[in-house]
Amino acid sequence: MQYITGFASWFMNLFQTGGKTFISWMSSIVPVVLLLLVLMNAIIAFLGEDRMNKLAHASSRNVVTRYLILPFLSAFMLGNPMCYTLARFLPEYYKPSYYAAQAQFCHTSNGIFPHINPGELFIWLGVAQGIQKLGLNTMDLAIRYMFVGLVMNFIGGWVTDFTTAYVCKSSGIKLSKEVKLTNKPAESDEKATA
């Protein structure tokens, strides 16, 4: 009988420990994330997608805007996974590189702006909850996460330009580096009617 009682209380203890963790998150993390989401959703609704599309057009020309500024803003404005759609204005050759940078921006900025990728928040939060438990400020970590991300994601995008060149060479496929001018009016037309 003693063993059964012992086992039962051990078993229930698993859920009580988990429950305590859950409630501490519900009272500390959820309200902050929720209110931040409200504000971010509102800002995004006010600014609108049109402006982002214009920016995407303008950013396709050089490396810095292409793999640093555009993916950062795109993650902030559109979140995962809609942020990828802005790359439709880029030349085909640069699309894989943009993807490489963009996917990482969906995480590195997520510490400060959890609205970007709420579905995968625990990449950040899993580690950050340990910091929180120690009573330290997670914002210090979040800011460094974002800045290291800014630099390394940009480099990641740039490096992909070279791996794309390598894959193109070894497979014999050629991708255009030119912005398709014929595509442009069609796109903007579609937007105007949208």
């Binding site: 959820v30 959703n41 439709r88 990449i123 630099v151 070279f162």
Partner: protein, 339 residues
């Protein structure tokens, strides 16, 4: 009569649609129920289609003659009222499916956040198939009788409506409130549908790890790996292997679990908090590796771009993986001093 069809899409932050409205001999009027002010889209729709606009606050028309209803509802009643009657509804506010009548709000009947830009002309044959409304059964006699009545109201509805200052403030404030309200609804939905379920899952995991003693065994493996830069680089290197990374990707679940486990050890003081930064990079070197074809699809890439892009991104993840961890480690100095 030369009526023309119109296409109405959702605007920024909007929901539903697109709607195609084709006026017919019976349905060639539309109503706007917008608190007495006349939205600009009313004029535009009038101009494109040749339909007549009726101010719903001044008079009314039978439902079966109403081709379209324009409302400025922030999410309580009106946005659902017209869809319930089967009338195509345009909301100038960015309101989604909400209110007590929300089950009637469907993308086929309803579109929101509509401004002038969202209203456009379509060629007739394109819209003919798309335009249909459930409330299409009515007797034309009634329609004729009512038509005469509306001519008397014409001066009222068609007089140039100058918005006065107070009305402008009211409309502006209404729009801000509605936008925030809609943003809040979406935020609550996100939290309930995606964040809380994952929290419950991870909390259970933590409960099992900490409560059962697996944690101690796990700490023995994890602490030497995650507690120094070389271990983290090895972790990052493994996650970025091109044949492994697509398998580790889906939903970032594995990364999230490993992250939580490292977090638990940091919380217990087994791992220095400074290592949180390189750990964040180490657990995620496979970032998005499973999603490349879908992501490139969202980028509207051509088939051959996808063919090149998949290996290319996998290679670049591999090249960048371990160095990212190292750079993050360098950047972690001075983070949480004294711990």
């Amino acid at each position: 009569m030369a009526w023309k069809s119109v296409r109405i899409e959702k605007g920024s932050g909007g929901w539903g649609g697109p709607l195609f409205i084709t006026p017919t001999a019976q349905k060639h009027k539309f109503i706007y129920v917008t608190g007495g002010n006349r939205p600009k889209i009313v004029d535009k729709i009038e101009k494109i289609t040749g339909m007549k606009a009726i101010d719903g606050f001044k008079t009314s028309i039978p439902e079966n003659e109403t081709a379209l209803a324009i409302v400025d509802c922030g999410g309580t009643l009106r946005c659902g009222l017209y869809p319930k009657k089967g009338i195509l509804t345009v909301n100038v506010m960015p309101t989604g499916k909400s209110g007590p009548l929300q089950q009637y709000i469907t993308p086929e009947l309803y579109v929101s956040a509509v401004g002038e830009k969202q209203v456009s002309e379509v060629s007739d044959n394109a819209a003919a198939t798309a335009a249909s409304s459930p409330a299409a059964s009515a007797d034309p006699e009634v329609a004729d009788a009512d038509e005469a009545k509306f001519d008397t109201t014409k001066p009222i509805t068609q007089q140039p409506n100058k918005q006065n200052f107070i009305a402008k403030i009211g409309i502006g404030a209404g729009k801000v409130v509605a936008t925030f309200n809609q943003a809040a609804k979406e935020a609550v939905k996100t939290v309930i549908n995606t964040i809380i379920p994952f929290m419950a899952f991870v909390a259970l995991l933590i409960g099992i790890i900490q409560g059962s003693g697996i944690g101690k065994a796990f700490a023995k493996i994890m602490v030497p790996l995650a507690g120094n830069v070389w271990g983290l680089m090895i972790l990052g290197f493994i996650c970025s292997l091109p044949f492994l990374s697509p398998l580790l990707g889906p939903g970032a679940v594995i990364g999230q679990i490993i992250g939580t486990l490292i977090g638990v050890e940091i919380g217990k003081g087994h791992i220095s908090p400074q290592f949180a930064l390189p750990a964040l990079f180490a657990i995620n070197t496979q970032n998005g590796a499973d999603f490349i074809p879908v992501g490139l699809g969202l980028e509207e890439a051509e088939a051959k771009t996808v063919e090149v892009g998949v290996p290319s991104v996998l290679y670049s993840r591999f090249i960048n993986g371990a160095p990212r961890v190292f750079v993050a480690w360098l950047a972690s100095f001075g983070l949480y001093p004294g711990k």
